[in-house]
């Protein structure tokens, strides 16, 4: 499980999903956990520097530059869900 970046990203993704009225389960994960459990995720949110670690996952990968930017998260999540 993650403790830092992934926790912040999870919190802000949940805020955005709430605003959009989308029900979803969001889990925080470090790279080791993401490699094991990632294949079951519909969407994986990460930071650009970690995308290469998560290639070959079946779900969509979204790279978030700015973990506190709810507008960026909303735009990228909306695009991935459409």
């Amino acid at each position: 499980m993650g403790i830092g970046t992934s926790v912040l990203l999870k919190m802000n993704a949940e805020k955005v999903l709430g605003m959009l009225g989308i029900q979803a389960t969001v889990q925080a994960a470090d790279i080791a956990k993401a490699k094991v459990e990632g294949p079951t995720a519909d969407i994986i949110l990460t930071t650009p520097e970690l995308v290469y670690q998560l290639e070959k996952m079946p779900g969509k990968i979204i790279a978030i530059d700015h973990v506190f930017d709810l507008v960026e998260i909303r735009e990228k999540l909306t695009a991935a869900l459409s």
């Binding site: 830092g4 970046t5 912040l8 919190m11 520097e49 970690l50 700015h66 973990v67 506190f68």
Partner: protein, 148 residues
């Protein structure tokens, strides 16, 4: 709201307008502040640097802001934060968010006891104006007042 951030920042955990020559030095400052405030041992500082070397500059989570941490381990003595403002911004090799002026060190004993703290930290760091004032702060008291 309880003053979670100031509680998490024990005495000795805040460095104001520090000078760092590079990313590694900046992480060591955040780690030494965790050591000074009895949150973690030097092994934890080394683990943070190693995590950065292994996974790259993903720790730079927003423009100018790095969140430095490693996995919970025996090197963590208690859950808490350190906070370092840099007098000169330092490049961390992050395309979107370089250079870094604020390094937050995080030590966590496990995976869930610090979640409320992270919510408080997130709320603070979202406020660009407050973060800018934090970077201008000249002493620890000014930092603590902003975090309150």
């Amino acid at each position: 709201m309880a003053d979670l951030l100031n509680q998490a920042l024990a005495e000795g955990s805040i460095l104001v307008r520090a000078q760092a020559s590079n990313w590694e030095h900046a992480l060591e400052l955040a780690g030494s502040a965790l050591e000074q405030s009895n949150r973690a041992t030097n092994e934890y500082t080394k683990a943070m640097v190693a995590a950065f070397e292994e996974l790259g500059p993903y720790m730079v989570i927003a423009p100018g802001i790095a969140l430095a941490h490693a996995r919970p381990s025996e090197a963590v003595l208690s859950t808490g934060l350190s906070l370092v403002t840099l007098s000169e911004p330092v490049p961390f090799g992050n395309t979107a968010n370089d250079p870094v002026s604020l390094v937050i060190g995080l030590s966590a004993v496990d995976h869930d006891s610090h979640i409320e703290l992270m919510a408080a930290l997130s709320e603070f760091l979202m406020d660009v104006m407050k973060v800018n004032m934090l970077l201008q702060a000249e002493n620890v008291e000014q930092v603590r007042t902003l975090l309150r």
